[in-house]
């Protein structure tokens, strides 16, 4: 079972890879809309990637209003 820290780190790594930003440039409290310069649809694409990676299903509503990696990680963690 992953810890929340591990889940968060894996999300940061996946986001860096998916949106081509240098590894290590993202932090748990970063606002991913602003930091990655993405819109709500691109966020949904990222969620699909994360679902595949973690093997969980996240209803759209569960991530409504979430904009930082840490909160996103806790939502995923609760479903692992």
């Amino acid at each position: 079972m992953r810890t929340l820290e591990q889940t968060t780190q894996e999300i940061l790594d996946l986001a860096s890879k998916h949106f081509n930003v240098p590894e290590g440039s993202l932090a748990p409290d970063d606002d991913f809309f602003r930091k990655l310069g993405i819109d709500s649809l691109q966020t949904l694409e990222l969620l699909s990637r994360l679902e595949n990676h973690f093997g969980v299903e996240l209803p759209d509503y569960e991530v409504q209003g979430v904009s930082d990696f840490r909160t996103l990680a806790s939502r995923i963690q609760s479903r692992l």
Binding site: R34, S40, L41, S48, P59, D60, Y61, Q64, G65, S67
Partner: protein, 570 residues
């Protein structure tokens, strides 16, 4: 289709539709690739009646207000019909708002009943602002897990009355719904919409966009929005068509739904249309050279053959693979809510997929003008709908002025705000605050805004007053939020931004600490509501005798600054 001009209320029209089309499928609900529900009009009625009866047993009266906060799903429409059947007033609220904002609107609307989903209720119930909505007596929650704490709510699925409910007739001028166009920041704008507004709007749109049994409408815009309420409920239902709900907006599942459910129409916002365009362009770019050359040639032929008007049947033959990616039954996309570049509209038109670009606002009862999908123009938002008058107020030499609308679809006013109503509806004309002109063929073109607000590519209206509270307590002398285009008007509706005007304390500088504080507060806002940058003004903001900021005077003062250098991006 039912003749909506003959009905007194939406409820009465829906009653007839449920009987007339009893054996046809009215609703399909899917979650990702899983179909969850498929209801005929008869089954829809059988679901709604016990709910209506239970509401009546709980003393729900004509004119009582009932709020719905739900994602797009069958229970949204079933609940709405039950409320209308009982003569109630719908208060559809945006599930994307924060719990505190929702409680504020529940309080303002004085809704006595609330119907919501368990996942939303969990957050609402935990919010401190819950104590504000004292009118709320009945709370129904859908899809609650069996042992979940309901915090004073009841299960929607168990809220069921025995026997037939009594239909409560309403008159055309009675209130059908209160739809909030904005106002979560302190001055709620609850558009009071009558049965006549909806019936006339449905009648007018049906003359431009054909709905009939067999038509399938993919509903992805939130149903609380007037557009989906009309296009994804009232119109298809009164025509015997089918509404498809998809409980996710993930692009891969939306694409899949087109083919799975043979979709005929879908209303969307520019952001999604552009995303579809990007996806297609990427697929075209990945084609081997030879195939790409053939595709380009076919697109050119299609463009030539459909130059005067779309011929979807012909385009489906020429560009079969492109059309089959959209299920092969798509008649048109509808787009509105925000500005869309003509190039994107042309991209789809070249593929033989018409896009009915339109213009509307909640206050006007949905659409003001719509491009006829049989003859769409990419440079306009179409002609005013039948029964809707548009005039341009105080036009300049270029013919551009404020768009004013007169129609039986225009709301009766803002709930409990006669002053704002009087400012907005002048001598029977709805002053939209949008700048436009009518071309010689009667098509409306839009050029920008007069009002202090922005519309995002996701179709979200954001008013500065609604987001200012997040900056309360900022360590500066005073502040005020503006739409940048309101300060520095420009003839454009692209890349609209909000800015925070700051007047610093004497000797204070716009330090890195202050920038960080502004950013931290900004990040508390939903992403589409955030400010883009800061503008510093080293003088007192003009204020009224009661010390309210005079926004117009302040905007005029800020306009003297150079936009290019004045906005300091966060």
């Amino acid at each position: 289709m039912l003749d909506l001009t003959k009905y007194q209320s939406i409820g009465a029209a829906l009653n007839d539709a449920l009987d007339q089309f009893a054996n046809k499928v009215c609703l399909i609900e899917a979650d990702r690739e899983r179909e969850k529900e498929r209801l005929t009009y008869r089954e829809f009625k059988e679901r709604a009646y016990p709910l209506a009866k239970a509401l009546q047993d709980a003393s729900f009266q004509a004119g009582d207000r009932a709020a719905i906060i739900m994602t797009n799903q069958s229970k949204w429409l079933i609940s709405a019909y039950a409320i209308l059947y009982c003569g109630g007033v719908l208060v559809p609220l945006d599930y994307k708002l924060t719990p505190d904002e929702l409680w504020q609107l529940l309080k303002h609307s004085r809704a006595g009943s609330l119907i919501t989903e368990y996942s939303i209720w969990r957050q609402l119930a935990a919010a401190a602002a819950r104590s504000a909505a004292t009118n709320l007596k009945t709370i129904l929650v859908t899809e609650a897990p069996s042992n979940a704490p309901l915090d004073g709510a009841q299960r929607w699925e168990n809220f069921s009355g025995q026997g037939e409910p009594v239909f409560v007739p309403r008159k055309r001028n009675d209130i059908a719904s209160i739809v909030y166009s904005s106002g979560t920041g302190g001055r709620p704008k609850g558009c009071v919409t009558t049965h006549e507004n909806y019936l006339e709007q449905g009648h007018a749109i049906a003359q431009v966009i054909a709905f009939e049994p067999g038509i399938r409408y993919l509903s992805i815009l939130p149903t609380n929005h007037v557009v989906d309420f009309m296009m994804g409920f009232l119109l298809p239902f009164t025509c015997g068509a089918t509404v498809v709900h998809l409980r996710t907006l993930r692009p891969e599942f939306v694409r899949d739904a087109f083919t799975r459910y043979k979709i005929s129409y879908m209303m969307l916002v520019p952001l999604i249309l552009k995303n579809l365009q990007k996806g297609l362009e990427a697929r075209f770019a990945a084609l081997p050279k030879g195939k790409r050359a053939v595709l380009d040639a076919l697109i050119r032929i299609n463009r030539a053959l459909t130059r005067d008007r779309p011929r979807v049947w012909l385009s489906r033959r020429l560009l079969g693979q492109v059309h089959s990616a959209f299920g092969g039954h798509l008649r048109a996309f509808g787009v509105g809510s925000a500005f869309i570049e003509p190039a994107t509209l042309q991209f789809f038109l070249d593929l033989g997929i018409p896009v009915a670009n339109s213009y509307g606002l909640t206050e006007a009862g949905t659409a003001v003008s719509v491009n006829d999908p049989r003859a769409p123009r990419t440079d306009t938002v179409g002609k005013p709908l039948p029964g809707t008058e548009v005039r341009i107020v105080n036009p300049g030499p270029d013919g551009i002025g404020e768009v004013a609308v007169r129609s039986r679809t225009v709301m009766s006013g803002y709930l409990e705000d006669p002053a704002l109503t009087a400012e907005t509806i002048v001598d029977g004309w709805l002053m939209t605050g949008d700048l436009g002109k009518l071309d010689p063929t009667g098509h409306l073109q839009l050029f920008g805004r007069k009002k202090n607000m922005i519309v995002t590519a996701e179709g979200k209206n954001v008013y500065p007053e609604d987001i200012e509270t997040v900056f309360e307590g900022l360590p500066v002398k005073e502040f005020c939020v503006f739409a940048a285009n309101y300060i520095w008007p420009r003839r454009s509706m692209v890349d609209e931004q909000l800015v925070l005007a700051l007047h610093l304390e004497p000797g204070q500088h716009y330090s890195e600490d202050l920038r960080r504080e502004v950013t931290a507060r900004n990040n508390r806002l939903l992403n589409y509501k955030r400010i883009h940058g800061v503008v510093i003004l080293d003088e007192d903001f003009p204020r009224t005798a009661s010390l309210k900021i005079k926004r117009n005077a302040l905007a005029e003062r800020l306009a003297l600054l150079d936009r290019a250098t004045a906005i300091l991006p966060l």
